[in-house]
């Protein structure tokens, strides 16, 4: 219940290390930490994951939890307990229990979009400090990825980190979640791969000097100077180039694929998220070939907008949400084992993100509605074993943390404090944190700062 220990960041004033490392003046941003390779894997749970049913208190607070959750509360006996902790995971997430026991899982309580530190009182009195359009899917997805809480973003934190990284034969920021703002840089473009299967070859095209190829070149030129045409022509050319390289990795099978199995039945995982993480594992395995000292990934799982049927009436441990979290847990566990097989469990950190949390109070259709703060999980061999960070809200409806009557809680942890911790671990230099997180100064002073997510 107490506030977590916080790191205090000292922003080294103007390092002056703006030595131009390439045409965009990259800083020597990634100060090579020991152990060298690092990868961040963001797992975006689209639709707004009900984190209150992903991480659940098991101590005396569980009865308050049940009292306030109404139609969607889950009985204590069916939860997935976490050793030496007063929290449990959803019953469908048993696949992550061994990873907790191994010390490679951490919990983050009540994180969300914030523009400035807020209490319920200051939320009500200071509309100028509220994030814009809270509880809107599109805006909140944008806030999580773009980190500008009161405006829209054209670029996102993973892309901006890539702006400060050196490239390779493929971009070091790779999305299996489509073209979404989080992976767009200001100077860099991400590699966007399909969630399964490879990229097709270009039918009918063979390099050479035929009249056909000359015509393709002539019509590919954008001498008209139209901005959109420039952008599209660039996209098309990049796609052709990238496909050839990417296919050497995407084709066939890879040794890391074998770890993506259902721990109970041994059957191969078939969920879309498992397929995405399989590709991530391959890309990490190929880091040497690709010339990547650092990589960032975005994967996603959809379906979390559970307004109805989130739980099965009369059997709240089952239902839509249970199916989703089961797929999530098994895919994450498989990915962690795959990293272990590469000897890289400690070099890779995976973490959840989602539009927002959901109302604590369930609705009349066994579902929940849009809310604000939510719980998240972080996985990797370098996380602080058993860490539980942030602060669980007062679960009383209309109580100390609830800005409405249905259980919409003011976040205790800002996205910057959560994601910033992972970015620093990844190697983003202190001088570059304000570039990656535009509101960094608010979240690195006055007692706020990155969570102590990692081993000292």
């Amino acid at each position: 219940m107490s506030l977590s220990r916080r790191d205090f960041v000292r922003l080294t004033a103007g390092t002056g290390a703006l030595a131009a490392l390439g045409q965009f003046g990259r800083t020597a941003a990634i100060a090579a930490p020991t152990g060298s390779f690092r990868a961040m894997v963001g797992i975006f749970l689209f639709g707004g994951n009900d984190g209150w049913n992903m991480v659940i208190p098991t101590d005396a607070r569980h009865s308050a939890y049940l009292a306030s959750r109404g139609s969607v509360g889950i009985p204590r006996t069916s939860l997935t307990p976490l050793t030496n902790s007063s929290y449990a995971l959803h019953p469908a997430m048993a696949a992550l229990r061994p990873i907790w026991d191994e010390g490679a899982l951490a919990l983050v309580l009540n994180a969300g979009t914030l523009f400035a530190p807020l209490t319920k009182a200051t939320y009500q009195s200071r509309t100028d400090l509220r994030p814009a359009n809270l509880m809107s899917h599109s805006d909140e997805q944008d806030h999580w990825q773009g980190l500008r809480a009161r405006e829209t973003s054209r670029d996102g934190f993973l892309g901006r980190i890539a702006d400060k990284m050196s490239g390779g034969s493929l971009p070091p920021v790779i999305s299996l979640a489509g073209a979404t703002v989080g992976v767009l840089g200001r100077q860099t473009t991400p590699l966007i791969l399909p969630s399964s299967g490879g990229l097709p070859a270009r039918s009918g095209f063979t390099a050479g000097g035929t009249a056909k190829n000359s015509a393709i070149t002539a019509l590919g030129s954008n001498a008209d100077g139209y901005a959109v045409l420039d952008g599209v022509a660039g996209d098309v050319t990049r796609s052709y180039d990238q496909a050839v390289t990417a296919n050497t990795i995407l084709a066939g099978t890879a040794p890391t694929d074998a770890f993506f199995v259902n721990p109970t039945t041994g059957a191969a995982l078939t969920s879309d998220l498992a397929k995405q993480l399989m590709i991530v594992a391959r890309m990490i395995a190929a880091r040497g070939t690709l010339g990547h000292a650092r990589q960032n990934f975005l994967v996603s799982q959809g379906g979390y907008d559970t307004h109805s049927g989130q739980v099965q009436a009369g059997s709240t441990a089952t239902g839509l949400h249970a199916n989703l979290l089961g797929d999530l847990a098994m895919a994450m566990a498989g990915f962690h084992k795959a990293m272990g097989s590469l000897g890289l469990a400690g070099n890779v950190t995976s973490f959840t993100m989602s539009d927002f949390g959901r109302t604590y109070l369930g609705n009349g259709q066994s579902g929940t509605d849009h809310a604000w703060g939510s719980n998240h999980i972080v996985m990797g061999g370098d996380v602080a074993p058993g860490a539980v960070l942030g602060r669980y809200p007062d679960p009383v409806l209309g109580g100390a943390d609830d800005i409405t009557k249905e259980g919409r809680f003011v976040p205790a942890v800002a996205q910057e404090e959560y994601l910033g911790a992972i970015a620093r671990w990844h190697g983003v230099a202190d001088a570059d944190l304000p570039y990656v997180f535009p509101n960094w100064s608010t979240w690195s002073s006055a007692g706020r700062g990155p969570l102590a997510l990692f081993r000292a």
């Binding site: 139609s71 979404t180 000359s214 019509l219 008209d224 100077g225 139209y226 959109v228 599209v232 259709q365």
Partner: protein, 564 residues
């Protein structure tokens, strides 16, 4: 290739992005405020930066149809812009009504996939979408309906009912030139939407807020207060001003309680195998919250009827000040350009407010204002251009070639190019209207979200398959035996064979239909050379193969993908 440098294919590409004002629409001075279009002289097209003059009849066809054809361009030339629009406002042909017959969800035998496809997937409706898009004469109605369906979204990804998908999409065809309020009411009461966003079976005490929120955020006013020209209003701190609060959402949700699905036949209202998705929802008075509701400045008195509560919600949204610019911007984005000037949005929004006869929400007048505006009728400035969404790239190519189709092959292909119609991934459609143009500091390019490596390659291969490999015997063109009435697809290569050895004629036609005559002399010459390089003894076959080769080169070019 470095991931950092944006690669430009030509030196001298105007990289003056920084010099472009963010909102330079280049039009200005439009005169369509009243929606009354006289026989104005066609604007004389300004030459593009490369010095070519784009054909405005083709440009209108790009904006108002599923792709230019020779017949369509000739019709526009014959009637003029206002005359052609008038003809289109009266045109008919497309319909889903005959596909909107509800069936029980247990009405297919186990394992009967043919039955399941016909009754519980988008397939029959999507086939019709494409069959009509390719050949039905009411092109503008279909384009407007398609734009509306990407603003008010319900999807097979969540609700599988062929009849429901047909009935829901028929609402857009029916109301494309009708009144926006009628459309909002019809969508709100539609059973298919009722399931998609959970208004069906929402009950007093614990109502679902799903429909209430998306109705305000996506279907009507949008989240932020807008000026009439679409620019967000700002408060003293510089922040945007929300159009509604959490309390408004809750109260609207209360006003929308007490509805459930009609049922097939005389099935009980509890029989969830008998949901009639194609019918409007019916009242369940016991679940309706009849106490007083207050939202968006409106009060619904205690005891008001369910219908009155719904009407109050519709009116509050329809009459809201942000709704005209919000709808105007969306339709302009989907028909003309994702980067309209505020003045253009303002002119169209004014017509939404008043069609010239005191009527608000007249979509016919709004569409007329969009397409006759000077900003639509003159070529885009260099800051402009609209990337074709994958569906339009596919239909435009097919219409330029010439094809008769039952639509089947199109709905197989659209899933591979990231835009399966009627199966959007969420209520937020396939892409947001404000998706940024990669590498630009200011411009929007919604369809760019879909232009991933995978889509680029699959689109390229689709073009190759339907041109160089696109002879009539292609296996994917075959009729499907498990779908009654399926006739397959037949490309009309005879039209191209008729050119004989007139390669210049073929180049002219490709230049017109795919580029609005936008090719430079050098590009024309290169295209012609690619055609001439194909030599076959049989003159008819040679003509076809030359046309296919040139259509392949043209159809895979970035220039074809960008309407200017």
């Amino acid at each position: 290739m470095s991931s950092v440098s944006r690669k430009f294919l030509a030196a001298g590409a105007a990289m003056g992005l920084a010099l472009l004002a963010a909102c330079d629409g280049g039009g200005g001075g439009g005169t369509s405020g009243g929606g009354l279009v006289g026989p104005a002289a066609a604007p004389s097209p300004a030459p593009t930066p490369a010095g070519v003059t784009l054909d405005d009849s083709v440009r209108l066809a790009q904006q108002a149809s599923f792709g230019p054809t020779v017949a369509l361009v000739e019709r526009i030339r014959a009637l003029g812009v206002p005359g052609w629009l008038d003809e289109q406002f009266g045109a008919t042909g497309s319909t889903y009504a005959d596909l909107a017959t509800d069936v029980r969800s247990d009405s297919c035998a186990a394992g009967d996939t043919a039955c399941t496809t016909l009754r519980f997937t988008r397939t029959p409706v999507a086939m019709r979408f494409y069959a009509d898009a390719i050949t039905a004469p009411d092109q503008l109605r279909q384009r407007v309906a398609f734009a509306l369906s990407q603003m008010i979204v319900a999807s097979e990804a969540a609700v599988r009912s062929t009849a429901g998908i047909a009935a829901f999409n028929q609402l857009f065809l029916t109301n494309a030139f009708g009144n926006y309020r009628d459309l909002l009411l019809a969508v709100t009461m539609n059973g298919y939407m009722g399931d998609y966003l959970d208004m069906a079976d929402s009950r007093r005490g614990t109502p679902s807020e799903n429909y209430a929120r998306e109705f305000l955020q996506l279907f009507s006013m949008g989240p932020d207060q807008l000026a009439m020209d679409g620019t967000p209003q700002r408060d003293a701190s510089g922040g945007t001003i929300p159009n509604y609060t959490a309390d408004d959402i809750r109260e609207v949700a209360r006003a929308l309680t007490g509805w459930t699905y009609a049922r097939v036949g005389n099935a009980a209202a509890t029989d969830n195998q008998a949901i009639a998705y194609a019918q409007p929802m019916i009242a369940v008075p016991g679940r309706y919250d009849s106490a007083e509701k207050k939202f968006l400045g409106t009060t619904v008195a205690a005891g008001a009827s369910q219908q009155a509560s719904v009407a109050a919600v519709i009116d509050a949204a329809f009459n809201h000040g942000s709704t005209p610019p919000f709808v105007a911007r969306h339709l302009i984005t989907h028909l003309v350009t994702p980067n309209p000037s505020p003045a253009y949005i303002g002119r169209v929004a004014a017509v939404f407010v008043n069609n010239g006869s005191g009527v608000r929400g007249d979509l016919k007048a709004v569409v007329r204002a969009i397409l006759t505006d000077a900003e639509a009728r003159t070529p885009q400035p260099s800051s402009g251009g609209k990337l074709k969404e994958p569906v339009l790239a596919m239909t435009s190519l097919a219409r330029a070639i010439g094809v008769t189709t039952d639509g089947y092959v199109f709905q197989v292909r659209d899933a591979t190019i990231a835009q399966p119609v009627m199966r959007a991934p969420s209520v937020f459609n396939f892409y947001p209207d404000d998706f940024p143009l990669p590498g630009s500091a200011t411009l929007r390019s919604p369809a760019s979200k879909l232009l991933t490596s995978s889509t680029v390659l699959r689109l390229h291969n689709l073009v190759y398959d339907w041109t160089v490999s696109g002879d009539a015997g292609r296996s994917e063109y075959a009729a499907v035996s498990t779908i009654p009435g399926s006739s397959g697809s037949v490309p009309v290569w005879a039209d191209w064979e008729a050119f004989g050895d007139n390669v210049d004629g073929m180049v002219d036609r490709i230049n017109l239909l795919l580029f609005a005559n936008g090719l430079t002399k050098a590009q024309r010459d290169a295209l012609k050379a690619a055609g001439v390089a194909v030599t076959i003894a049989d003159p008819k076959l040679q003509a076809r193969k030359r046309a296919q080769m040139m259509l392949y080169v043209a159809g895979t070019s970035p220039m074809f993908l960008v309407d200017r």
